[in-house]
């Protein structure tokens, strides 16, 4: 428990340092926000297509689609704002030997390598837009907003975020073997986009694979399904259990991967 408190304090300090550093390079901060707005526009395009077509998607209305895409955007705030850039930089750290410096720190190496950088601009853009889209979608669906649904929604969103972290850390553990893992990060990143559309658009096999094997749908479809009152009992249980299972798997993959690391400066 003391270790968790210590890491939490360090994390807050890292966030503060990241904010200060971002404020120092304001042009980068602004262009970072522009980039995220570009990605946001692409996500919104999926809603535009749903509304433009004026058709239901596997029994879900365009307003329900808005809830799914809104949740996806909110989850992206955690993904792109808190850990993605760390995964993308892992290759460089290993290649140029800077990873050695992280190993000397008296705190968890996984924590330092995967959470030390964050982007508050991206986090704010995505969380604001995502929450707004979700609330608009829910408010257009009569009788969907109550405290219980909202609490459950937040719970599954946090669970989804933890699963997202674990799921994207596992392939990154290969960086210690292949060294140049930028494309692995790129592929993982493109898989993130599977959440651009709700899980219900995929066939039964795709839904099963995306829920239980590579549980991408736990990240954004599960919270939306809960908010819309369409979550099954099995999804409810798995949505709560998946973070523990996948965080343990990610830890295992990381510790195994790190054994292959050989310092480029050593």
């Amino acid at each position: 428990m003391r270790e968790i408190r210590k890491h939490f304090r360090i994390y807050l300090s890292l966030v503060r340092m990241n904010v200060m550093s971002q404020m120092e390079y304001r042009a980068n901060f602004v262009t970072g926000i522009l980039m995220e707005l570009g990605y946001l526009a692409v996500k919104i395009l999926y809603v535009v297509v749903a509304f433009g077509a004026g058709r239901s998607i596997a029994g879900f209305t365009p307003d329900e689609m808005l809830v799914f895409v809104g949740t996806f955007v909110t989850a992206t705030a955690f993904y792109a704002g808190m850990y993605m850039m760390n995964f993308f930089q892992l290759s460089t750290l290993v290649k140029d030997g800077s990873f050695d410096t992280l190993m000397t720190k008296p705190i968890s190496l996984q924590f330092m390598a995967t959470l030390r950088r964050c982007d508050i601009g991206i986090f704010l853009v995505d969380s604001t837009a995502g929450i707004a889209m979700t609330l608009v979608g829910l408010s257009r669906l009569s009788g969907q907003l109550d405290a219980w649904r909202l609490l459950g929604y937040v719970f599954f969103l946090l669970c989804g975020s933890a699963v997202g972290y674990a799921l994207y850390l596992i392939p990154q553990s290969l960086v210690f073997r292949v060294v140049d893992a930028r494309a692995i990060a790129g592929v993982s990143d493109s898989f993130w986009d599977f959440n651009n559309v709700p899980m219900i658009v995929y066939d039964r096999l795709g839904q099963a694979l995306g829920s239980y094997v590579l549980p991408m749908f736990v990240i954004t479809s599960f919270p939306s399904l809960f908010a819309l009152g369409r979550m099954t009992g099995a999804q409810l249980v798995w949505g709560a259990l998946a973070p523990a299972v996948f965080l343990a798997l990610a830890r295992f993959a990381w510790t195994r991967g790190i054994r292959n690391y050989s310092s480029s400066s050593g």
Partner: protein, 275 residues
């Protein structure tokens, strides 16, 4: 003349070897093209499904039948992956670090060097993706009755060659902003996503509605993805194909002039100390 050709052939070879150096990275980058195809195919399949409010099997959405839309999704995603650049980061790095001065004193044109290197890096990917495209067309033909004529295939090769050059020029111009802006890594990404969207690389431009779609059709971007895709899918043929190729060539010429002007203006600002 032969010596000049040798320089750029060497640059081509450098790009090719660079692309093949990290083979695992290369294979994973190709895998990245699969995800958007699966996502969009699933979405369109749902939207065209009988229970969604769709009409008959000849039902159209945004001007496309189901078979045409699937053809568009597959071909546009492959074309998007093929014409994708990445050299703008190296260009920016050369400007920022002052490394550009090494090239300025060498008997090689920097634009030609980057162009040849880009072509080399793309050649391996093009060979693999060309094969993937051929397989995808056979599968599409069996599944949806999609067909591409020999003439469409020839037109596609010409449109794709122009798309390579045009996209290179677009991102060359974007990359040259490095002469004026110090930190533009994120700006490249922002520009990339906007350009891909405006090129029809995510959805056909008709999705944006008639007014926005028409405005985007006037810009050069659609010639990098939507135009080659439409040619192969048979939506553009005959006089429209000839006009489109001429328009893409004209845009390339215009951008080449613009690129040269930006380069000259940028060089006047360029300062390299102690590099």
């Amino acid at each position: 003349m032969a010596e000049a050709g040798g320089k750029y052939l060497g640059s081509f070879s450098l790009g090719l070897r660079g692309a093949l150096e990290y083979r695992a990275n290369f294979v994973f980058s190709l895998l990245g093209a699969v995800a958007p195809v699966v996502i969009q195919t699933a979405l369109w399949t749902c939207l065209y499904a009988p229970g969604s409010g769709a009409g008959s099997s000849g039902d159209r959405l945004f001007g496309f039948t189901y078979a045409q839309m699937l053809g568009y999704v597959v071909v546009a995603n492959i074309v998007s992956r093929l014409v994708r650049t990445g050299f703008e980061y190296d260009l920016n790095d050369d400007i920022k670090s002052g490394g550009l001065d090494r090239f300025l004193v060498k008997p090689i044109d920097y634009f030609g060097f980057r162009m040849a290197q880009f072509a080399g890096a793309k050649s391996a990917e093009t060979a693999f993706m060309g094969l993937t495209l051929a397989i995808a067309l056979v599968v599409l033909s069996a599944a949806t009755g999609f067909s591409a004529s020999h003439l469409a295939a020839l037109g596609f090769v010409a449109a794709l060659a122009l798309a390579f050059f045009l996209n290179f020029l677009v991102f060359w111009c974007v990359g040259l902003l490095g002469f004026w802006l110090a930190e533009i890594g994120f700006l490249f990404e922002a520009a990339r996503i906007v350009i891909i969207t405006a090129s029809g690389g995510i959805f056909p431009l008709s999705v944006f509605g008639p007014s926005v779609g028409s405005a985007l059709a006037v810009l050069p971007f659609r010639f990098t993805i939507q135009f080659p895709t439409d040619v192969l899918c048979g939506r553009v043929a005959g006089a429209d194909l000839a006009w489109g190729l001429a328009a893409a060539a004209a845009w390339s010429g215009l951008l080449l002039v613009l690129a040269r002007a930006i380069w000259a203006a940028g060089l006047r600002r360029f300062v390299a100390l102690g590099s």
